[in-house]
């Protein structure tokens, strides 16, 4: 009995302290033990040794009584006294059995947890409690309410007071969920990101998307020509490229607003008028009248390679992937060429690998993302369907898209929406989405309500499609989720001009008309 078990640790000997430190995580707070007696221990020892008790029955009865009292006290007051005043109040405790106590303890822990979860641990006083207003509501409830508001309501709310402005305008959380559903501004695919002058915040996405949807924009003419052309444009992160007769112009873009600076940066010149051109990481490649083709390195002014009469007639379309070049021409041929460096002359050389006879004027070619196959869009007057899929290595026809096309339903523009999907448009006034895995039937079709031919399309490779039609500079915005109706229309320019080419990023749409290039800014 020399050891003092009940002493606090601070008064313990050095060894005990050391040991306690080692097992500190298992230690329990100090607690007064109820009174006990040695009667049980004595009984066990004497019985096992076969001795006789030397305790009188009176003594034994007294010990038992003491033990029972101690037990009762533990139930009645011992544990309860450890409960805080608040916890007692919480459940208005009556005396109860040990099991009940345990269960209620669980419940109380739970309630307290709930308080903490809701961020409401701090209880305001009941007296003098201010009436709730929208501002004094806990922020988590505000978030729930805001998640049901539309974009315009949110803007109205943010103008109301400092706190709401802080929460609504500066916090992307409110906008994040909404921006996931936004049109045009969802910068998800790498195509769209490459094209966008910058990435938008969730709030900007929502607001700009609303502008696209409502048709709120400012229009500006980038250049105006004196005579009419059939321009082709290419929109990139930093630059806008477009053709003007036998020239390709390059303009710099404003990195913040996405608009185009007036200053002409660079001109690429060829001998013949250019029909189409493509820009990839290294090269600018153009195809034009009388089968002429020209290749520039992006950095230098002079063509690294140019060739006339690659085809016997105009090259309508051209595409490049790595060093494979594909040209489609009016002379009803598609040529697969390789572009490589000649070590002797330090010049680029073009070698024709394969010639494919399509038996129809070729209007469009496009190589898929992996560079293994390509689509050919023709005038729709030949024996085959107007949209075909070829293998790039062997030049073999892999499949035809659709069945029973109308004669003359030529495909004017088409490109790969994803690695398996193709988006096409043409004379039959439809924009169609095809899947190369089930080429017989189109996945989605969007019909121009005015029944005019669709000259060009552009897509964000996610859920937005824009189409440029043959008349009045009319451009349409489509949502792939509801292909039956057009989401918005934009009349670009003042003349009755076809839209020859167009491209858009999250902030601007660039539209090429016969005598001007126009920029619609939605920011």
């Amino acid at each position: 009995m020399g050891l003092q078990f009940n002493a606090p640790l601070s008064q313990a000997i050095k060894e005990s302290k050391l040991k306690a430190r080692k097992c500190s995580e298992f230690l329990q707070p100090f607690k007064q033990r109820p009174q006990t007696s040695a009667s049980l221990a004595r009984r066990l020892v004497t019985q096992s040794l076969g001795l006789r008790d030397r305790i009188t029955p009176e003594q034994r009865a007294a010990e038992r009584k003491k033990l029972n009292e101690a037990k009762g006290a533990q139930y009645r007051s011992g544990n309860l006294s450890e409960w805080s005043e608040q916890e007692r109040e919480l459940w208005a405790l009556q005396p109860m059995g040990p099991m009940d106590e345990h269960l209620y303890q669980c419940c109380i822990n739970l309630t307290v947890n709930c308080h903490q979860m809701n961020g409401l641990v701090k209880n305001r006083r009941k007296k003098g409690r201010k009436c709730w207003t929208l501002e004094t509501l806990p922020t988590d409830i505000l978030y729930i309410i805001f998640s049901y508001c539309d974009v315009k309501s949110l803007v109205s709310l943010s103008c109301c007071s400092q706190k709401l402005f802080q929460i609504v305008a500066n916090d992307s959380y409110v906008w994040l969920n909404k921006s996931l559903w936004s049109l045009v501004t969802n910068q998800t695919s790498h195509h769209m990101i490459c094209r966008s002058s910058r990435l938008l915040t969730p709030r900007e996405k929502c607001l700009t998307s609303e502008n696209w949807r409502d048709g709120v924009y400012s229009e500006r003419t980038v250049v105006r020509h004196k005579c009419r052309f059939m321009p082709w444009i290419c929109l990139q992160k930093d630059f806008l490229w477009f053709t003007k007769g036998n020239l390709i112009h390059r303009y710099k873009r404003n990195p913040k607003s996405g608009s185009v600076y007036k200053h002409l940066l660079k001109v690429y010149k060829t001998g013949e008028d250019i029909c189409r051109f493509v820009v990839n990481d290294d090269f600018v490649v153009s195809g034009g009248w009388k089968g002429s083709i020209a290749v520039w390195r992006k950095s230098c002014d002079k063509p690294v390679m140019s060739r006339n009469q690659l085809h016997s007639n105009d090259i309508n379309s051209i595409d490049i992937s790595k060093n494979k070049l594909i040209t489609g021409s009016k002379d009803k041929l598609v040529k697969i060429c390789s572009l490589f460096n000649d070590n002797v002359n330090a010049d680029s050389v073009l070698r024709v690998d394969k010639i494919i006879e399509v038996n129809d004027r070729v209007l469009n070619v496009a190589i898929d993302e992996l560079g293994t196959s390509f689509i050919v869009g023709s005038a729709g007057c030949g024996p085959l369907q107007p949209l075909l899929l070829y293998d790039i290595q062997s030049g073999q026809l892999l499949s035809q898209f659709g069945t029973n096309h109308r004669r003359g339903a030529g495909v004017l523009h088409g490109f790969w929406e994803s690695n398996d999907e193709v988006l096409s448009c043409g004379y039959d006034s439809f924009v169609r989405l095809w899947d190369k895995r089930s080429p017989h039937k189109c996945v989605l079709s969007m019909e121009d309500p005015h029944d005019s031919a669709v000259y060009c399309i552009s897509s964000d490779h996610f859920r937005t499609v824009m189409s440029g039609t043959a008349r009045y500079g009319l451009t349409r915005l489509w949502d792939k989720r509801k292909p039956t109706e057009c989401t918005q229309i934009y009349y670009v320019g003042t003349n009755n001009s076809p839209v020859y080419s167009m491209s858009f990023d999250a902030l601007v749409a660039c539209v090429a008309l016969e005598s001007s290039i126009n920029l619609l800014s939605f920011y």
Binding site: C106, H115, K126, E135, C149, S153, C159, L164
Partner: protein, 213 residues
């Protein structure tokens, strides 16, 4: 011999043929049994106590629409549900849970207790968000006193009753919809603490919203 043989085959056929039909019936039965159990449970009344001390009675199934109350009852691990009814009222320790708010909440859960539970796997979140409020809900939530309305929303949020929070949030959003900032401020009695310069700047930034109207 012959008789025994034929007996064997019929038994075999019965064993192989029965299970699929049985399963379908079981599924249906289980569903119905669950429905009946919920109905039975709702006849048991439990008591909820507001922060101000008022005690309100409410069916068990209805009360379990509050995830918080359901968790508390689960923690009791009571097998005999009728015993729950005899317990002390469950205290709701949040000052949003006023007498009035709790009364309204009990009214709401008693009306909605047999709603199908929201299943995040099958319900389209977007669709549910755009759904109009039912006529009953509209009348229920159309409360003139703004403080009381916010009390109900805050209390429902505290008790974790998703459906009611949704109703409240939708109601407020409907009220805000199509209003200009001054109108919103007036309606919700929000104090304008912007300096005139700040307000002008914000207005300029958001001009486009009102441009069309």
């Amino acid at each position: 011999m012959n008789g025994e043989y034929s007996l064997d085959t019929t038994e075999g056929m019965a064993a192989s043929g029965d299970p699929p039909t049985n399963n379908a019936v079981d599924d249906y039965d289980a569903e119905e049994a669950l429905e009946r159990q919920r109905e039975e449970e709702n006849k048991i009344k439990i008591k909820l106590k507001s922060f101000e001390g008022g005690v309100y009675e409410c069916g068990l199934t209805a009360a379990k629409m509050s995830v918080m109350v359901a968790n508390m009852l689960d923690a009791l691990q009571e097998t005999d549900l009728t015993k729950i009814a005899t317990r002390e009222p469950i205290p709701l320790q949040n000052d949003a849970v006023t007498n009035k708010a709790l009364e309204k909440i009990v009214e709401w859960v008693d009306h909605h207790w047999d709603d199908p539970p929201i299943d995040p796997d099958f319900d389209d979140e977007k669709e549910r968000r755009n759904e109009e409020l039912s006529h009953w809900d509209k009348q229920f939530i159309d409360i003139a006193d703004q403080g009381e309305l916010f009390d109900i929303i805050a209390a429902a949020n505290f008790m974790d009753i998703k459906g009611l929070v949704e109703v409240g949030a939708k109601h407020i959003c409907n009220k805000i919809k199509g209003k200009s900032c001054t109108e919103v401020r007036e309606m919700l009695k929000i104090h304008n603490d912007f300096t005139p310069e700040e307000e002008a700047a914000i207005h300029k930034e958001n001009e486009w919203i009102y441009a069309k109207d």
